[in-house]
């Protein structure tokens, strides 16, 4: 199965990248390396993709009503504002996905299965 892990927030509510010390930033980055290593050690798991995202201030929302395109500055909702990045992970089941994403210790992760039924 494919799972997306949205890094929706930090487990430490007082932490932010902008105010973190260099050592803290390195520790955060290191968790991504640990994640990559942990996944590579499992034959049944693969990282299919993943990116860091710029913050919600740089978001643009595109809407179309009656063929007319309108743009709105800012993220679609407060919930999406905090998403700092995502991974697309191949894993045999939710337990394996949880085990892998739990290596990313700094983050609250929302795990969502990809809907295979609409593929191809």
């Amino acid at each position: 199965m494919k799972y997306i892990g949205f890094l929706v927030s930090y487990n430490d509510p007082d932490y932010s990248w902008a105010t973190a010390s260099e050592a803290e930033q390195q520790a955060e980055m290191a968790s991504h390396g640990d994640f990559s290593v942990a996944v590579s050690k499992r034959e049944d798991c693969t990282i299919l993709g993943g990116e860091a995202l710029t913050d919600g201030d740089s978001a643009t929302v595109l809407r179309q009503v009656g063929g007319e395109v309108t743009l709105t500055d800012g993220p679609f909702s407060e919930a999406t504002e905090g998403i700092g990045g995502f991974y697309l992970l191949e894993a045999p089941n939710i337990d394996a996905a949880v085990e892998m994403f739990s290596v990313l210790t700094p983050y609250v992760v929302e795990i969502r299965p990809v809907d295979d039924s609409i593929e191809g």
Binding site: Y3, P92, D95
Partner: protein, 414 residues
Amino acid sequence: MTDRASAAVEQAWQQEWGRLLGLLVGRFRDVDLAEDALADAFEAATRTWPTDGVPSNPAAWLLTTARRRALDKLRGADTARRKLPLLVVDHLREEERGEVDIDDVGDDELKLLFLACHPALAPESQAALALRLVLGIPTAEIARLFLVTEPTMAARITRAKKKIATAGLPFAMPDDGALGDRVEVAAQAIYLCFTAGYAPGFGDAVVRADLAGEAIRLARLLVRLLERRGERAPGVVALLALMMLQHSRRDARVSADGELVLLADQDRSAWHHDEISEGLALLASVPATTGRAEELRVQAVIAARHATAVHPDGTDWSAIAADYARLEQLTGSPVVRLNRAVAVAEADGPRAGLALLDGLDEVLPLSHRLPAVRGELLVRAGEVDAARAALQVAIERCQHEVELTYLRNRLASL
């Protein structure tokens, strides 16, 4: 239907549902298909056993019939109806298993319980699914037990089953490293069933005792299945002991007019003493431990001290007060402190109990039990006016009919 056939169907439902459903889910990887097929098999048993006689191995008959029904459904037009992906199962066992063998129980029943009690599901869904999948209790009955409408419960169960399939919750034994945590989650779901049965809330005491009884069946099953694998689960054994000791008092808790009877006033001959004996034996087998298992064990120790007092005056309140102090240390719970205050008042007098209530109002602002306890202790301390005021607050907050009647009577008696 003949009585014998009817009793055999009922007995098979009571004893075999979870085992048979586990085997079918493992084979067909589709909870809905397996449930439908098994329900069809029981329906066929209800029709044919009275005329054809009860088969020599009822469980094997039901399994064969259910498997055929499932295959028919898969071959037929029903296949198109599949809306959900197949369950994830352990691949090894899936390949091994061509046919379903009644004696090849393996861990399928345990896997079914772990699937129902997966931590990715909401606790109330876990509890409902465990009752439905493992004990075979119909949705209408589960709705009645949890005091919600049948459509509400049906929607809750459907949503949970959909998540099981779409989010890839596995039908598999947890890894050895995760087993302890998963057992604890299952124990929590079972305890949720039990406390929903006895929680002060709305509803009819008799219905609630039924739910507590089903929670005990689940805990007993979990202990048995883990022991068969050679796993020790002190937390689940402690939970089973706790529930049995508390549940043994069910017939004495409510009077013939439906009024709540306090522990001290209960007819102790109406307690189920065989269940108390079993609860005590279970408890004796659990060593002192740590964490959640220790919390359950200490709670069971307290229940055991009440259960073994032949007369209320013989209750060892000093020991119970010490148990609650330990439990408070483990949990940090204000509710435990409230219970501790009651025990300390019994052991050392009402003033000592009242002193322990200080500071609880901020953390339990909506509790009716806090002012009820305070009122009772104030009565005993001779402060009747302050007691009246506290009982009045308790009455304003209380929503449980039986308890409300008790509080009103208490206030009127002052």
